[in-house]
């Protein structure tokens, strides 16, 4: 929300430098998103008087104005009387009026944020010199008015600075809306001013008109209407006033300045005042055209009826959308037709325009929860919704409406009728809280009187009874319900920064390792030690990426409120996100790299109690571009496998790599989608203890083309939670004191798989009870033979004695017997 510092200063002193102020706002009120110094935008504009004004000799529509700038502008061509010549095309340019002069060298404010702001100079227009220009509302960025130049409407003299006369030498502070979610009052200038006052330890005093006890307005005209509220639960208060014979006209420059400073456009005096009051108090006000309401209903008495929409009813909103409200939306209708989406936005049927003569103003209180649903459903996000969504005070409709009427009546119109429909209003209750209770919780040492002062500054009602404070929050605070709320209030306004910092004295226990975090940390260390880079990509993917990577989009959750329209699917696999980053990094000049991510995936087909199961995966890609891929021997598949061995470490033996094309993924949608990334002939399904751990290999050619992946590219994605199944604890055997014997054996086998052979040998060696170590040495197929010779080196030792030749012989005989029986292997 944009806050004008000059506007704030109308209600409280600010005795801080801008820097200090921003620091305090950040620490005690809410995060500042950005600040804009308007004084630069409005620099150098001088209030000047048109002393003489006559037609341009060579142009029908132009006039020559001789202006008096009080001698303020330096280095400017002046006539004998000290006047400056400016050429102007505005109809209202005439002798005697005060205007805003943009002298040569100044920047046209409306172009201030443009790439190339328009800087004025002295130039000839049809042969006559124009020194800068006389500004219109549009050029000053105050309104859309370009028909004429602005006329100064406040007390001023030639030479006065335009910006300071109209408070445009302002600092605009944009505070994040979310910081005020629980503070409806802070969506108004008054609320923020009160806070800034409290933060500085200054007593704030609300304007007299902003009070529960407001003086009842007396109608002077006659403009009858009736209010019927059929939604008393949702709309606890509906206050409305009619004003007859109002003149619709442009707002004063002062009003235009208020609105433009916080980024609102001036429309006309009625709409502007309702906006002004909303920005000031956080109470939105809506204006209806009385005569349009009357016309809709014919002869009946004008009525505003609060009700739900009936089936089939439609309304065209001021934003141009036509909607069919749901049966729960809160509506305002005339006797026969919907005229407003309550609390959100008006309809076009009864809006105020230039021809309006009689109006009804509404200040109501709308249920924040229902309004939020309405706003989300119809995509209506107005300033009114932002404010009502925070739960505005029911009390303030009357004081705010009364002041609005008074402001309008200052220029024209008569009050016709004022109506206030409500049941018993919600009141803040008094809370009793002791100074001790507060000090204990804050770790502070404040006296009860100090505490009382802190909250009195922001207009809480406080009674002190020794050390007990009896506190009642003012009506605009709808967030103070329990004693802890008072503690917070005092802590914040006193400043948390001033609290003593002490470490709590507690005995603590080390936390138990959480399985998932533990395995993630191991994976992270293993892969980064191997030189791979950890990435953190979004959990969301685009439809396009899902399609490029052959992912079945039907099983992906679609987001209703995506971060950006492109990122609207929850990912079912992580690998596509990594693949998407490969080309960009090659382009940055990295010719080879490993990327990995520890992420979570979800899909619609794996749920528990309607909630998606969360699967933790580790995903990896290795890529080397064409310049360096000759550094690698063998297929890219093996490069991925090298990294895989890093993360499984000693468990490598337990892994099995099986055919991807014949694998059955019917019960595992994650693997099914994952498999579509890989090319079956160059990839494998990784099994661990009969569980499908994941897939390793190279990618489909179409994916490589679409994502511009180099030839040498491979990777894997594994279910990280299954990796915890692998036993990582090492078992120790005492070392043998006796010498190891080393023997090479070669077995000739026909079609026995290699791993089976290794396992059989290992099993037999283990059964001997000796220490052993088994290494593969060679694999050789003699010419024209269908047998393969597999050679291993075996190291053997006993813990009891040095092994004799006879011992070794016995071991070999045992091996030979077992292998020929089980695998028809013959030692050669």
């Amino acid at each position: 929300m944009k806050i004008s510092l000059n506007w704030i200063k109308e209600f409280t002193d600010v005795d801080l430098t801008n820097e200090q102020l921003l620091e305090r706002i950040n620490a005690q009120l809410g995060a500042v998103e950005e600040t804009v110094d308007l004084s630069q935008k409005y620099q150098g504009i001088i209030i000047s008087k048109i002393v003489d004004c006559f037609p341009h000799p060579d142009a029908d529509r132009l006039k020559i104005c001789l202006i008096d700038d009080g001698g303020k502008q330096k280095d400017i061509e002046r006539n004998a009387d000290g006047l400056v010549q400016v050429v102007c095309g505005a109809e209202n340019a005439r002798t005697g009026i005060l205007v805003a002069w943009l002298p040569p060298g100044s920047t046209v404010p409306a172009s201030f944020e443009d790439k190339q702001p328009l800087v004025l100079d002295a130039r000839k227009l049809r042969g006559e010199t124009s020194n800068g220009m006389l500004a219109s509302g549009l050029e000053l960025d105050l309104s859309d008015d370009h028909k004429g130049i602005v006329e100064i409407d406040v007390e001023a003299a030639p030479g006065d600075d335009f910006a300071s006369k109209y408070d445009l030498d302002d600092l605009i502070i944009d505070i994040e809306n979310k910081m005020f979610t629980h503070r409806p009052d802070c969506f108004g200038v008054l609320g923020v001013a009160r806070e800034l006052s409290g933060i500085q330890g200054l007593q704030f005093v609300s304007p007299d008109w902003y009070s529960e006890e407001v003086e009842q307005l007396k109608p002077t005209g006659d403009l009858p209407f009736k209010v019927q509220n059929h939604l008393k639960e949702l709309v606890p208060r509906f206050t409305a006033a009619s004003i007859a014979n109002i003149e619709i006209q442009p707002s004063s420059l002062k009003m235009q300045s208020y609105l433009s400073r916080i980024g609102m456009k001036s429309i006309n005096n009625v709409v502007d005042i309702t906006n002004f009051m909303m920005i000031l108090t956080a109470q939105p006000i809506h204006a209806y055209d009385y005569d349009k309401l009357k016309k809709i209903d014919g002869s009946q008495e004008v009525g505003l009826i609060v009700r739900h929409a009936e089936k089939g009813e439609k309304i065209t909103l001021l934003n141009g959308k036509t909607i069919e409200p749901s049966s729960s939306d809160m509506m305002v209708a005339s006797n026969s037709k919907l005229v407003c989406l309550g609390g959100a936005i008006g309809g076009t049927e009864a809006d105020v325009d230039e021809s309006t003569k009689n109006i009804i103003l509404e200040a109501a209180n709308w249920d924040m929860y229902q309004l939020r649903r309405t706003s989300m459903k119809h995509g209506v996000f107005t300033d009114a919704v932002t404010r009502f969504n925070k739960g505005q005070s029911q009390t303030q409709t009357m004081p705010v409406l009364t002041h609005t009427v008074n402001l309008l009546l200052q220029s024209s119109g008569e009050l016709g009728q004022i109506t206030d429909e409500h049941e018993e209003l919600k009141q803040n209750q008094s809370l009793e809280v002791s100074a001790d209770f507060i000090n204990k919780r804050l770790g502070s040492n404040l006296g009860a009187d100090q505490m009382a002062k802190i909250v009195k500054n922001v207009e809480f009602d406080v009674q002190l009874n020794q050390d007990v404070l009896s506190i009642k929050a003012p009506f605009w605070r709808t967030d103070i319900d329990i004693k802890e709320d008072i503690v917070e209030e005092i802590g914040r306004l006193y400043s948390y920064d001033k609290l003593r910092q002490t470490l709590p004295k507690r005995s603590i226990n080390p936390s138990i390792n959480e399985g998932n975090l533990d395995i993630n940390q191991q994976l992270r260390l293993a892969l980064s030690s191997a030189g791979a880079n950890e990435l953190l990509t979004y959990n969301f993917v685009s439809k396009k990426l899902m399609e490029i990577t052959n992912q079945n989009i039907d099983i992906a959750y679609e987001l209703k409120n995506a971060l950006s329209p492109e990122l609207n699917y929850y990912r079912t696999t992580v690998l596509p996100n990594l693949l998407e980053k490969v080309h960009a990094n090659h382009k940055l000049g990295y010719s080879k790299f490993g990327l990995f991510e520890l992420g979570k995936v979800h899909n619609k087909n794996e749920t528990t109690d309607d909630l998606p199961n969360e699967r933790s995966v580790v995903s990896f890609v290795f890529s080397a571009d064409d310049k360096v891929d000759n550094e690698y021997q063998g297929a890219p598949y093996f490069q991925a496998k090298k990294y895989l061995s890093k993360i499984v470490g000693g468990k490598s033996d337990a892994l099995k790599f099986t055919n991807l094309d014949t694998a059955d993924f019917s019960s595992n949608p994650w693997l099914e989608n994952l498999s579509k990334l890989f090319i079956g002939s160059r990839s494998a399904l990784v099994m661990l203890h009969n569980e499908k751990l994941g897939i390793i290999g190279e990618y489909q050619p179409s994916i490589k083309r679409s994502l511009k992946l180099p030839k040498f590219c491979s990777g894997f994605e594994l279910d990280a939670s299954l990796l915890t199944l692998a036993d990582s604890s090492a078992s120790y055997k005492p070392l043998s004191k006796f010498q190891y014997s080393e023997i090479d054996v070669t077995y000739s086998v026909k079609d026995t798989p290699y791993d089976k052979l290794v396992k059989s040998i290992g099993r037999e060696l283990k059964n001997t009870g000796l220490d052993y170590d088994l290494t593969a040495v060679d694999s050789y197929r003699p010419e024209a033979s269908e047998m393969i010779n597999q050679t291993f080196r075996i190291r053997l030792a006993s813990t009891q004695r040095t092994l004799s030749a006879e011992d070794i012989k016995q071991v070999l005989e045992r091996l030979d017997g077992a292998l020929s029986e089980q695998l028809f292997a013959v030692r050669v």
Binding site: K440, R441, I482, E484, V487, E488, G491, R492, Y496, R524, L525, S528, N533, E534, L535, L536, T537, Y538, N577, L578, E580, K581, A584, N585, L588, Y590, F593, L595
Partner: protein
Amino acid sequence: MGMIHPNVLREAGVDPEVYTGFAWGVGLDRLVMMKNNIEDVRHFHSGNLSFLKQFGARR
């Protein structure tokens, strides 16, 4: 920043008459941004190695 609501403590089986606490939200990425003067939060998710390689894993 504020206090932990007594109802939250109660739901967690903690007696709010005995225990109290402060509650606030800290974005880990924001803290890292402050520490290292990182100007744009989107860098974290960019997958850009020029960015990532400036931050090694601590062991």
